[in-house]
């Protein structure tokens, strides 16, 4: 655990982050150790494997605002936002307050903090970068509970605070056989300040969660998020990540499957244009027998940089694990690129695991077929790009949700396709 502290000059990004962290008012005693750890360790260099493709020191430097902007950040107000899914209850993670919460669901302020000495991403350093930043920024902590057996009929939308308080630490616990949908809404944030979110999601036996991440921040926004999921027996975790905005974004999903019969279905679409750096990093960690997981990310790149790192880990004894992951990228311009790093780490012998990453352009034969029916080139291309991402949206098998996601994807494609 101990690290040889490198003596190197602080980068502008590091200096700026420390200033911003110091400017926070609350939770001094929690923030202090994290700030000191960051002061000591700095941001990860590219030699830290977990951050090899996302060089925070360099990428953040360009995107954090001037010191004079702190006051403006402190004052930046609420934005009015329609819920992502019609009729959702809204939980403000800046204040731990919920409105119109369904029966069986409660929200409270919590003293629990994200423990940055725990590194769910085994490739990170002795401190977990996102958690350390989350603590250093004094994230407000909330505890959300869904009682055993509760099955609210509408979604619960989680909204982080804005400006300097765009940092949330959230524990979400589902009792046995509970069933709920959550939308993590990552939308426009004040320019110049990073936002961070750390969520601990605990699925009790036989419970089910659909977790939607809607990340549509402004093109100058910096967001670092982490979702750490623990699955008890027979639970089902479904995830859909939409990245359709943000300047520098890293979203980590780390799952620990600790109960037999648990199932994970992760899907995501990353839409990336020039000036963006979008990183999705995931871990499927199977530690008991008879669990299943599928994971598919589809990326459309018209510019900028995309990163996907996904590992399937199967512990000794976790027999009959069936886990597959795929990351497919459609590269629409020479200006953009996508780095995909799928990995397997398997210590059991009776498992079915697979991974694959592909990157390519629009299929010329498909384009010809559509055009031969009179569909003009640009429209045919748009249809094929849409088809490429729609395939994963359709796997949600939820018409209302599919409709909302497709509308957002259409907006992006018509603006950037």
């Amino acid at each position: 655990m101990s690290s040889v502290t490198e003596l190197r000059p602080r980068t502008p990004a590091e200096t700026r982050l420390l200033q911003l962290a110091e400017a926070q008012g609350e939770n001094e005693n929690v923030r202090r150790p994290a700030i000191e750890a960051l002061r000591r360790e700095g941001l990860p260099t590219r030699r830290v494997e977990a951050w090899h493709y996302t060089d925070l020191r360099q990428l953040m430097g360009k995107r954090l605002g001037e010191e004079s902007a702190i006051e403006a950040l402190r004052e930046s107000g609420e934005t009015v936002l329609e819920p992502f899914l019609h009729g959702s209850s809204i939980v403000d993670l800046g204040t731990s307050e919920g409105s119109h919460l369904p029966k069986g669901v409660s929200v409270a302020k919590s003293d629990e903090r994200s423990d940055w000495k725990v590194t769910p991403n085994r490739l990170d350093r002795s401190i977990d970068t996102i958690r350390a930043l989350n603590s250093a920024f004094g994230a407000n902590s909330s505890a959300i509970t869904v009682e055993a057996g509760a099955a609210p009929d509408h979604a619960i939308e989680l909204r982080p605070g804005v400006g300097l308080s765009g940092h949330a630490h959230t524990r979400v616990s589902l009792g046995a056989k509970a069933k709920a949908t959550f939308v993590e809404r990552l939308d426009g944030n004040a320019q110049g300040a990073p936002s961070t979110g750390v969520t601990e999601l605990h699925l009790g036996e036989g419970s089910e969660v659909l977790w939607i991440v809607d990340q549509e921040k402004g093109l100058d926004a910096v967001h670092l998020g982490q979702l750490h999921v623990r699955l008890e027996a027979d639970s089902l975790f479904r995830l859909f990540v939409l990245n359709a905005g943000g300047g520098l974004v890293r979203y980590e999903v780390h799952t620990d499957v600790v109960g037999e019969g648990a199932d994970i279905q992760m899907r995501g679409v990353n839409l990336i244009r020039d000036g963006q750096h979008i990183d999705v990093t995931t871990t499927l960690n199977h530690t008991v027998p008879n669990t299943t997981a599928t994971e598919t990310f589809r990326n459309v790149v018209t510019g900028g940089h995309g990163v996907f790192q996904g590992i399937i880990k199967v512990a000794r004894g976790a027999q009959k694990t069936d886990a597959k992951l795929a990351c497919n990228s459609l590269l629409l311009s020479d200006e953009g690129d996508f780095s995909a790093k799928p990995e397997l780490e398997i210590f059991a012998d009776d498992v079915v695991c697979g991974h694959g990453a592909t990157a390519g352009e629009i299929d010329a034969d498909h384009l010809f077929y559509l055009m031969s029916r009179g569909i003009p080139a640009d429209k045919a291309r748009a249809l094929l790009i849409k088809a490429f991402v729609t395939e994963v949206v359709e796997e949600l098998e939820d018409e209302a949700l599919q409709y909302v996601l497709e509308a957002r994807i259409d907006d992006w494609l018509s603006a950037n396709g």
């Binding site: 010809f368 077929y369 559509l370 031969s372 029916r373 009179g374 569909i375 429209k379 249809l383 094929l384």
Partner: protein, 251 residues
């Protein structure tokens, strides 16, 4: 309708010459059958008519209603009335069949300066054509051609043809993969489309299709050239004797 003049074409990427001086004229309302051994260039000719970019025309011209189409892209050719029923129709995951049909139909109408079809009118046309071709409407809820059997794909091509109402229908081995009943259904569908203003280029290996869709002319394509032209009896002769005599005569 169609005049192909001394057409030479090669694979754009590696330069292999495939068509070596094709001359062929198809009149308005004519049904022309093209036969010929495997690899003689029949599909290549059909792709070049539809405007596929993999092939490069190095000499000659294709006139459609008196005008060269070589500079037109596939969508423009389609809008002007050229339709290719593929030998191997493609599966396109993620593109809903109905969306595709509607987009294609309305894009063509728009290119011709016609109004777009209303959804009910579009649905009515699809349902009626599907019924004629005995296509189960549930199939059309799937992504384009995905999971269709070989014969279902061929029928779906003819459904598209019926909906788009082209002027020049190029059918590349539409009969292959069809069972005996389906062949009859598809042939009926084609015959229903026959008119004085619509021409067909029917590529096939077998007389059986030509029993149902009786051609006005039969052409033999061999090594990138039309080596023999005749009437429907030529197809019968080929059925009995094979290609060797005609190839010898041509040589």
């Amino acid at each position: 309708m169609l005049e192909i003049k001394n057409l030479h074409a090669r694979v754009a990427e590696e330069g292999t010459e495939i068509l070596r001086g094709v001359d062929l004229t198809v009149k308005d309302g004519e049904i022309a059958a093209i036969m010929g051994p495997n690899g003689s260039g029949k599909s290549t000719l059909s792709y070049i008519l539809a405007g596929r970019e993999d092939y490069e025309v190095t000499e000659g011209d294709i006139l459609y209603n008196g005008e060269s189409i070589l500079e037109m892209d596939p969508a423009e050719r389609a809008a002007s009335g050229i339709f290719l029923a593929f030998q191997y129709p493609l599966e396109i995951p993620g593109v809903a069949t109905m969306t595709f049909l509607k987009t294609a139909l309305n894009a063509q109408r728009k290119a011709r300066g016609e109004d777009e079809l209303t959804t009910p009118e579009f649905m009515r046309r699809v349902k009626s054509s599907a019924a004629d071709l005995q296509i189960n409407p549930d199939m059309l809820k799937r992504p384009l051609n995905v999971g269709f059997s070989g014969g279902e794909k061929k029928r779906a091509e003819i459904l598209q043809m019926a909906l788009l109402e082209p002027k020049l229908c190029v059918m590349d081995e539409t009969d292959s993969g069809l069972d005996i009943d389906a062949l009859k259904i598809v042939a009926d569908g084609v015959n229903a489309l026959r008119s004085a203003e619509r021409s067909f280029l029917v590529i096939t290996h077998y007389q059986r299709l030509l029993d149902y869709i009786v051609p006005d002319t039969v052409h033999v394509l061999y090594k990138g050239r039309i080596i023999k032209t005749g009437d429907k009896d030529l197809a019968l002769k080929l059925e009995n004797e094979g290609y060797s005599q005609i190839i010898d005569e041509a040589a």
